[in-house]
């Protein structure tokens, strides 16, 4: 496959540029790929990296599920109900535009430096995006198919599963992908500000010690995990639900 070779080549080029730059600069602030790999291996052996990565991933999964579930429900509701949509539109705009840092600080101030506050902060940041995406998707639902479902007396459940959900699927996948990226960026800030474990907390420590090699090692680990999620969960899900297309 020439495409596979091409993407392998591009990865190789990336590493080469990195290696070249760091040898040329010869500075502690840009360690070579090899140094990062050694640190990565040491952190894995000591159990530090898996632990903090695991904690962060757990937070990611919990807040992701809450945000997607709530977001889909509210998004469909607003997309289907014009009055509700008009009423809550302003709220949505407000929540979309509150800076992530502000919600995080407010959550910690109001609810204390606890796990629930951390999760809540992430959910509040992500939720409006999901709602907006799903609402747009719901507005594009085919009225002909909905009329058919009504005419043939489909129950609400049946309509949702067989008529609405398949049409929303591309929007849900879009919200999932952008959501994962957004959530994991916010989660690190949440951890940095008010938790004593997780990737964000660790990165904060490394920052204070100017330990760039460790920072890069953790970054590599995280990017790999997200790629793994994409390849093993999202891509197959996409393929399965799109197989009806010509």
């Amino acid at each position: 496959m020439p495409n596979k070779g091409l993407s392998f080549l591009s990865a190789l080029l990336f590493l080469a540029v990195w290696q070249g730059l760091s040898s040329y600069l010869d500075s502690n602030t840009l360690p070579t790929p090899a140094t990062v790999a050694v640190v990565f291996w040491k952190e894995c052996r000591s159990g530090e990296l898996p632990f903090h990565l695991g904690v962060t991933l757990l937070r990611l999964v919990v807040s992701f599920i809450i945000a997607m579930g709530l977001g889909c429900a509210i998004g469909i509701l607003l997309g289907r109900n014009k009055k509700l949509d008009v009423f809550f539109d302003n709220w949505l705009v407000i929540f979309l535009n509150v800076p992530a840092l502000v919600t995080i600080i407010l959550c910690y101030v109001w609810f204390g430096l606890v796990e629930a506050a951390a999760i809540l902060a992430v959910v509040v940041n992500k939720l409006p995006n999901v709602i907006v995406t799903i609402r747009e998707g719901t507005r594009t639902l085919d009225p002909d198919l909905l009329a058919m479902a009504r005419c043939y007396r489909f129950s609400r459940r049946k309509t949702l599963i067989h008529v609405i959900w398949p049409q929303l699927h591309p929007f849900v996948m879009g919200a999932t992908r952008s959501g994962l990226a957004l959530i994991w960026k916010i989660i690190l800030v949440v951890e940095l500000l008010g938790r004593s474990n997780g990737m964000g907390y660790q990165l904060h420590l490394f920052f204070q010690m100017f330990d760039v090699a460790s920072i890069l090692a953790y970054t590599v680990a995280f990017v790999s995990v997200i790629q793994l999620i994409e390849l093993t969960i999202l891509k197959p899900l996409d393929r399965k639900s799109q197989q009806w297309r010509r």
Partner: protein, 242 residues
């Protein structure tokens, strides 16, 4: 099977001032195949949507067996409206409530010559096949009344003829009260027991004419054409209409 009486005093869309349908009365006897013939845009689809309970915004009354209840509707829309992400068989199964209808579906698929294609996604069917599936779907629920909104439009003539023949075969197997909308007089004569001619907006009935050609003579194009000419000569109003 049931008798159905439709009265629409007034149906006016919010976007237009003049009523689309006014002082309209229609009675369907049980088991009758009725064709509504009228120019495009005269309000035929609106009428079907009102009967199908998809449009509540009108002043009027629908009586099923002299009661105010919503009849069980099998609606064959102008576009097939299948769920593209479900297979042919799943599309039919979805409209059925009980899960033990396999033999009904098998028989219907067989009659419509779709047994081979039952596990194909609806998205991959040709238009003629999609139309056949939507016909099966409507028959499958054993409806009080079958509504058909120009179901053969935009099919090429041989395919239209084939699907029409299959439809008639199915209907003779399982008689239902049918309300069939078309603007093709020849098609109407081939299919109907009774023709109802409709005026332009506001839609009203111009005349009701029974088709005297016996069922087994309907494939005789000469007989159909003769009746059509006679109809147009006897009723100048109708020839204006079409």
């Amino acid at each position: 099977m049931v008798d159905i009486h439709v009265t629409i005093n007034n149906k006016t869309f919010a976007t237009v001032k003049a009523p689309t349908i006014a002082d309209f009365k229609l009675s369907l006897n049980s088991g009758e195949f009725v064709c509504l013939v009228g120019a495009s845009g005269c309000g035929k689809t609106t009428l079907l949507n009102i009967i199908a309970d998809l449009d509540h915004d009108y002043d009027g009354d629908i009586l099923v067996d002299k009661q105010h209840k919503i009849p069980k509707i099998g609606y064959i829309f102008q576009n097939p409206r299948l769920l593209p992400w479900r297979t042919v068989r799943e599309n039919i199964e979805l409209v059925l409530e009980d899960q033990h209808a396999a033999s009904t579906i098998d028989a219907l698929l067989e009659t419509m010559q779709l047994t081979q294609h039952q596990h194909v996604y609806a998205d991959r069917l040709s238009l003629g096949m999609s139309r056949r599936v939507s016909i099966i779907r409507a028959f499958a629920i054993n409806p009080d009344i079958l509504l058909m909104d120009e179901p053969f439009v935009s099919l090429d003539p041989p395919t239209a003829r084939q699907v029409r023949a299959l439809l008639l075969q199915l209907w003779q197997h399982r008689p239902h009260t049918v309300l069939f909308v078309t603007h093709d007089l020849r098609e109407a004569i081939i299919l109907a027991d009774k023709l109802i001619f409709l005026s332009a907006t506001p839609m009203q009935i111009i005349s009701e004419i029974s088709v005297p050609i016996p069922r087994h003579e309907r494939h005789n194009e000469q007989a159909v054409e003769t009746f059509r000419q006679q109809l147009l000569n006897d009723h100048p109003k109708i020839s204006q209409l079409l």
